[in-house]
Assembly symmetry: C2
Homo-oligomer: 652 residues x 2
């Protein structure tokens, strides 16, 4: 009773809101993370302690134990709660004269100090058990205590830590790591990766091979960090992925490769991106698209945490064309409907001008989504926000339509919708009384993209009003396939660029189009989508040197010399091969329900690429640049103001 609410207060204090997912609490952490088929690891081997703080139960009564941990809380110099990564345990502070030195240590050490205690596991007095605390039936009658380290006054209370700004959390990352949520996230990450390794290495004969990160700049590698070498003017670059190396490994006969690969991408400042990130990188010889898909489904099923519902396989699959037409995106969140419907035929005879105009064009369409209960939950300003968004980002009109005409307050066009149009629309889209339809017109891709965005915005708005459209406990995987192999270049639409990368093999049935209408060729590329986020992508690669040369040189106008080593390798007996890469940070972020990938990385950079704890990147004295034959080109005054400003902001 006297400690009744502690655990829950502690957990609330230490854990961050993470959406609606429920999480295990301290003490169940390690058990829930232990690999199901294996024994629980020995957490106390090789060290002084006999047990962890979270594991003691009534079954340990009478045992002599030694525990090490942090002082979480002390109450009236009688009790002390000790914490380690495994949980909390109550320590009885001895009150008799003979134990004065032990009492002194335990009473005087500040909170978050580190102590070692030895004593006996005893049961709590009747009525004082704490059913909410996994160790709530027992306490430790201490015989000896040792103060291992004192904690100075913290810059803030640990339990309030999560209310602090993220900048402060990043600056004192080592304190943030003590939180339940960070412990859970990092331990789950380790366990999931371990299970993936077991699946790949032990079950399916994959070979874990490390590839270099000091490499040669790739053609067009504008996002690659440079590393000056000691040879004047010569630079390594940090690769964005081991793509070339893994293909070369296939040529080298290492026919099942994987790597938990560190990759680098210099994108300047972008929210929720990291300059270095990790991918599960896989490549196989003699495989087709289906082979890779079944491998990955098995991998995720095997590695999936035991405290979540199991993953159902095979994952559904959708073509890129269908994803765009139905969800307006190449990474649909299929946990909810609100699909895009083509309603062009309903409005062939419309009097509404912007629909007329759109349909008059050869590629013109009218599209709509039905927001269930939108009429009930969305407000006038929501709809105004939506319409402004459409105008601002897509230069598109959006027309909200309601069954009940009285609701058509927000649209100047609504009164022009004829009754038969309204009825046909209601039939096609199965509109109910409380629903709202959002309608737009224009070229297929643009209209779909807009409605795809509005679909997500409406879901968010409805959830803010208390509806649950996207169950956070639901994990909906989806393959998206049959992407175009090439896209017109944004700057020069008559030229082509690779939709993904130039090593993707064309779809076999489109091969003939390569020489006539290359823009129509589909690639053997596949994306893996989870709850609306892309968590992986891969392809079957080109293994024919001649085809690769044609695509690089003739279609993409690339400088083939920069890739001569790869082209040459394809000539010397390259097997057919394909692969995939899963974004580990993003995957873990979704699995843990963390608000940012920074919450599943031990020492992340801020969104401006800073390490706020150590203050990296930092200045380097000019003499230390000399061996690398470089010097800083200081920007002019005006340039400097622009680039220097944000770096003064700690919250960067």
């Amino acid at each position: 009773m006297y400690l009744g609410s502690w655990l829950s207060r502690v957990c609330r204090g230490l854990s961050r809101p993470i959406g609606k997912t429920t999480h295990p609490v301290w003490g169940s952490l390690c058990r829930s993370l232990a690999l199901s088929s294996q024994r629980i690891p020995e957490f106390s081997s090789f060290v002084d302690r006999t047990n962890t703080c979270g594991e003691l139960r009534s079954s340990h009564l009478g045992q002599e134990v030694t525990l090490c941990g942090w002082i979480q809380y002390r109450r009236q110099n009688t009790f002390l709660v000790l914490r380690d990564f495994h949980g909390l345990v109550q320590i009885l502070i001895p009150q008799d004269e003979s134990a004065a030195s032990v009492k002194k240590i335990l009473c005087e050490a500040p909170v978050e100090s580190v102590v070692k205690v030895s004593g006996t596991v005893i049961s709590r007095p009747p009525g004082q058990e704490n059913p909410k605390m996994p160790t709530g039936e027992i306490e430790i009658k201490v015989k000896t205590a040792e103060l291992l380290n004192v904690c100075k006054k913290l810059p803030f209370e640990i339990k309030d830590f999560m209310k602090k700004t993220e900048a402060l959390r990043l600056q004192y990352r080592y304190l943030d790591l003590r939180s339940f949520q960070m412990q859970y996230n990092l331990r789950l990450r380790s366990q999931m990766v371990m299970k993936m390794r077991e699946y790949l290495c032990n079950l399916h004969g994959f070979v874990d091979i490390e590839t270099p990160t000091l490499f040669k700049r790739t053609p067009g590698g504008a996002k690659e960090f440079l590393v000056p070498s000691r040879e004047p003017g010569k630079f390594y670059s940090l690769p964005q992925s081991p793509q070339q190396f893994k293909q070369l490994l296939m040529v080298g006969g290492l026919d099942r490769y994987f790597q938990v690969a560190r990759c680098y991408r210099d994108e300047g400042s972008r929210p929720d991106r990291q300059p270095e990130f990790t991918q599960i990188d896989i490549e196989m010889s003699f495989v087709d698209q289906t082979g890779i898909q079944r491998l990955i489904e098995g991998l995720l099923q095997y590695a999936w945490p035991d405290d979540k519902d199991p993953v159902a396989v095979p994952f559904p699959s959708m073509t890129f064309a269908e994803a765009l037409a139905t969800y307006g995106t190449d990474k649909p969140d299929i946990r909810f409907g609100m699909k895009i419907v083509d309603i062009s035929d309903v409005f062939r005879n419309t009097e509404i001008r912007f629909l007329q105009d759109a349909l008059a064009k050869p590629q013109g369409t009218v599209k709509a989504i039905c927001v269930r209960e939108g009429a009930k939950y969305l407000r006038k300003q929501d709809i105004e926000f939506i319409r402004e968004f459409a105008v601002h980002h897509f230069s598109q009109e959006v027309l909200p339509v309601f069954l009940n005409a009285r609701r058509n307050w927000s649209s100047p066009f609504a009164k022009f919708i004829m009754e038969e149009e309204r009825l046909e629309l209601a039939r096609l889209m199965e509109i109910q009384e409380e629903d709202m339809v959002l309608l737009t017109a224009g070229e297929h891709e643009k209209a779909c993209s807009l409605l795809g965005k509005l679909r997500l915005q409406c879901a968010e708005l409805l959830e803010m009003r208390g509806l649950v459209l996207r169950d956070p406990a639901l994990f909906s995987f989806l393959w998206v396939v049959d992407f175009p192999l090439f896209l017109p270049k944004e700057e020069r639409p008559t030229e082509l660029e690779s939709a993904h990368h130039p090593f993707t093999a064309p779809h076999p049935s489109d091969l003939h189009l390569l020489y006539t209408e290359p823009e129509k060729v589909r690639g053997q590329h596949y994306d893996l989508v989870l709850n609306g986020s892309e968590i992986g992508g891969g392809s079957i690669r080109i293994h024919d040197a001649q085809l690769q040369r044609y695509i690089l040189a003739t279609l993409l106008k690339e400088n083939v010399k920069l890739l001569s080593h790869l082209l040459q390798a394809l000539d010397y007996g390259a097997p057919p091969h394909g692969g995939i890469a899963l974004g580990l940070d993003r995957l873990l972020c979704l699995v843990t329900g963390a608000p940012s990938i920074r919450d599943v990385i031990a020492f992340p950079k801020s969104y401006r690429g800073h390490d706020l704890m150590s203050n990296a990147p930092d200045s380097v004295p000019p003499e230390e640049l000399k061996p690398y034959h470089i010097q800083v080109s200081w920007p002019t005054d005006s340039e400097e103001i622009a680039s220097a400003l944000p770096s003064k902001n700690l919250n960067s």
Copy 2:
């Protein structure tokens, strides 16, 4: 019979001499690499083939199989040997008219082309079995064949590949990787690391945590690569180890950390070093030196390859002082004796001048090693070489002494050795008739270091003459402990520098000396030595902020500000902790008996840091340097000649 010698020729062709270790051959590769306690992985899941080339036996007779592989060899258009990573199998080329297309494919494809064949496993005709080939009892009666890729004429014959220069091997690394030896090395590496992960993660509750590689320059980090950021004058650096991060993880309560960590060290050109390398990085809280040692012994025992003799634990341990006095080095190869003996007392009354001079000094000693059978196997020029080496590198005299006085041809001093000295020496060092004693005099450390080097040179010379002193099948681990915590700086011997790094905790019993005679303090540092190579090192760290500050600021005169984040972390409840790092490349090099660490790395750099396959590092156009606010400082003419010369050498 007709294929009788093929396998052995193939293996000879594909494998490199690797000292005297014997290795498994193709076909036994995967079986010997499979984790002993687990089922053999499914190497043919998710792909077209039903089996690997190396696994078919008489037990498969009658089975319909599909195989994919490279054409290793073809004989008289009747047989073809197909190869994959798993081994070799003989394919019977069909001769009947109806199979003309299959015959055409199999007869026309050049060697090293990639084919897929389907057919039946049949037994070889009696007398044609090949007992040296794991699949030697069977062959494949082919029904269908598909040419998956043609191989152009290779720049050299694969079987002669190993005779080529290493530069050529590195340039065509993807071909080199097809060799048995590279397949074995990389697969063994993957398996050993996987077993280490199982031991750490699944058995002992360690958490695999990735730490950043874009970090802040550490004080004195002259060997750290720089990575320019987009902020003018600000640089990341690539850390030499995750040292700071792993200590911060301990402060963060992640009390058992490990990582297979990529580390970077820019040492310019050094043989058998790589600019990026991998270490098994481990840190634990609440642990002492013994705890770490037992952990590592268990780790190596668990991960040790099944095709080698098991590792015996615990490993022997030796103090630094003893290692120096007995073996003249901090990394003794204890597979053989030839220990250093202090024979100062024998020569107290010597007439030999250089011994007299040495013994007259306060720190003077006379030391010797006994080279067993040295009189029999070493030649006059060997001894001349040894004496010149001693003079050249140590400015020391070396005196060879033989029991049989007739052998004392090579020493002008020998005749001055008195009979009682010779007898006393013989008694002390147990000299036999055919032995040779090498004797030197001088200050303890210098004399020991010299004899330590000569001990290894003599071992090499004796082995060249056919003796086996260092059994390559023997793996002798050794802990070296009780190193000094500080060393006098080479340039300024009155100042101290850390013997290893400034975070190493002092030996508890020497703590008081820190404030009076710091040069006498031993550190809680431990090195792990295998067969005379250092394969790991670690320490118990300082967890007391005040002590750490004293050592950094007062003793080492470091700029404490650069490490303020670490010092601050120690103030906020840092637990006692310690750790270790094992050099994975070096360990694998010793385990596989490879001549260089380049042979256990998939894509190594040349000793000048070049990727000879892709030609990294490479030039970067000036406009691509602009976002990083750097420009190249081209060296002057004279500087340029010096630095440009070696880069023109392909064999770099």
